[in-house]
């Protein structure tokens, strides 16, 4: 089974890109499945159901979404193997712009949209830096120049990634993405594979349910901001 990890900010077009790419793969119905990792709610399962794509949704709830992802992705692979899938796609939202739920040796795809601001690629961090393929969506509504500058800013952060423009509505560009998916590694399990990048550091008192504000309530990993201390 081939495993593809897709990550990207909320509403960047991950589900649309996945649906169009699955269509472009042209594999028998039921042989490509999706596991969606979200935090609170998700409506994407309806779209997968409509296309009769086997899918599962997991909610992180109060757990850090990336920690939740990494502790469940192995189970996702087992589910895919049991279902007899030939391709399994995991979809997760990068909620703190820092993390990259990417695994060494597993094709990692980052989806970002061209409307999100020209400097966005510089702010996303490891989710973009460690991706093998960066998919840019919503390029059809901005100028050619903005598409080119956006792609340039992506390359400044991740010079080795392949940058692809995919139209989530018409599916234009999904063909090339499908080609990359076809060429990826076949695996049976994720056990003992390594994350490309560390997950966010925990634990502070707020991780464990503290709600009061003030230094006396803070324990564990705390990062204190430095303000300029000149008097006016």
């Amino acid at each position: 089974m081939k495993l593809i990890t897709v990550a990207g900010p909320p509403s960047s077009g991950k589900t649309s890109v996945i649906l169009k790419t699955i269509a472009a793969l042209g594999l028998p119905p039921g042989s490509v499945g999706v596991v969606k990792f979200d935090s609170l709610t998700s409506f994407d399962h309806q779209r997968y159901d409509e296309q009769k794509i086997p899918n599962q949704t997991a909610f992180a709830g109060k757990i850090c979404p990336d920690h939740h992802f990494v502790s469940n992705v192995e189970g996702a692979v087992e589910w895919g193997m049991k279902k007899g899938l030939s391709v399994l796609v995991t979809e997760s939202a990068g909620l703190c712009n820092r993390c990259s739920p990417y695994v060494n040796g597993i094709l990692s795809v980052c989806v970002i949209d061209n409307l999100s601001g020209i400097n966005t690629p510089r702010k996303i961090g490891p989710m973009l830096k460690y991706a093998d393929i960066v998919v840019v969506t919503k390029g059809d509504v901005v100028s050619q120049a903005e598409r080119e500058v956006f792609a340039f800013n992506i390359r400044e952060v991740n010079a080795s990634a392949t940058v692809l423009f995919v139209n989530g509505i018409t599916g234009q560009g999904a063909f090339m993405l499908a080609r990359h998916w076809q060429d990826t590694l076949d695996i049976r399990t994720l056990r003992d594979r390594k994350l490309r990048f560390t997950m966010p550091a925990a634990i502070c008192s707020y991780c464990t349910g503290e709600t009061l504000i003030g230094e006396m309530y803070q324990m564990g990993m705390v990062k204190r901001m430095e303000f300029d201390d000149e008097s006016p």
Binding site: R98, S100, N114, L115, I118, R122, G125, P126, K129, Y130, D140, V141, V142, S143, Q144, A145, E146, R147, E148, V149, A151, F152, N153, R155, E156, V157, A159, S160, T162, V163, L164, F165, T170, Q172, G173, F175, M176, R179, H180, R196, F197, T198
Partner: protein, 344 residues
Amino acid sequence: MKAPDYVAEVSSVPIGDILRRYPLAVDYLANIRLVGVDETKTLPEILEDVDEDMLEEFGLDREEVIFHFSAFLEAFTRMEESIETISSITILGGRDKTGRPEMLELTVTPGEVVSIVGPTGSGKSRLLEDIECLAQRDTPTARQILINGSVPDLDKRFSTGGKLVAQLSQNMNFVMDLTVQEFLEMHAKSRMIPDSAAVVEKCFAVANSLAGEKFTLDTKVTQLSGGQSRSLMIADTALLSSSPIILIDELENAGIDRREAIEILVGNEKIVLMSTHDPLLALRADKRIVIKNGGVAKVIETTAEEEQTLHKIEAIDSALLNIRNQLRRGEIVTEESIPEFQER
């Protein structure tokens, strides 16, 4: 130069000199929050004073910064060198939606204009996509695209990454909050053009000559009118885009000098494919591709007679334009506003 050579250079040369040799390097440092560094020190020396925790936030340690930075310099220098020269593209027919083979072998060279006509949903975008991904009989249409008369190698196919085809359509807008000047400078920088000031100036002049109403360099791109935006996009695509092929989707109703727009694109050695039903544009193309039922039904060379009719169509077009301007000026449209046309 290979990546290890850059590692050696970065490790021994003061960062100030590196920044002067590779102007883009400043962006790399800014991306990992290294600003205002001591220019007399080398990067490894600078990194010694940097908090490891800060680097870790970016997923790097001191050693990795050097390698990552070297890979960055190597990639951008390589990009600068690999300017594509395309002397022709050839479209070899596949089949239409009913499986009927397309009788097609069409070669287009820079400076040529091909229009694409056909009903909505007939497969015009599919043709574009085949060109964009350099289809090799592996897309639903089974078409094959040749570059310079031969099959492009697989590496090239995967690495062109959407750089082959530039697109212009009526749905496109500017979303950056920048002035015209800042916008053009930013695009020139991303192309690593050495004398960007001259190109920016030229691009601005060309855009203004296309637009009905003039605009200034300090106008925000988001505040340009429809016609002005389109003019700037065309000038920018002609002069600053790296893509050798331009696909235009419906240029009509744009409030710009369409004839001059096409001439500017063609004059800059671009291959222009234009999906349009505007007779003024379609008949000005050298050839037009007729699409039906997902396939190319035929390719028509613009005939001498069709070229003759262009004068009359232009007269009709300018009559309509005059009426529009009359309306705009608040005048009353009269019988005299409409010229007599030859009765058939």
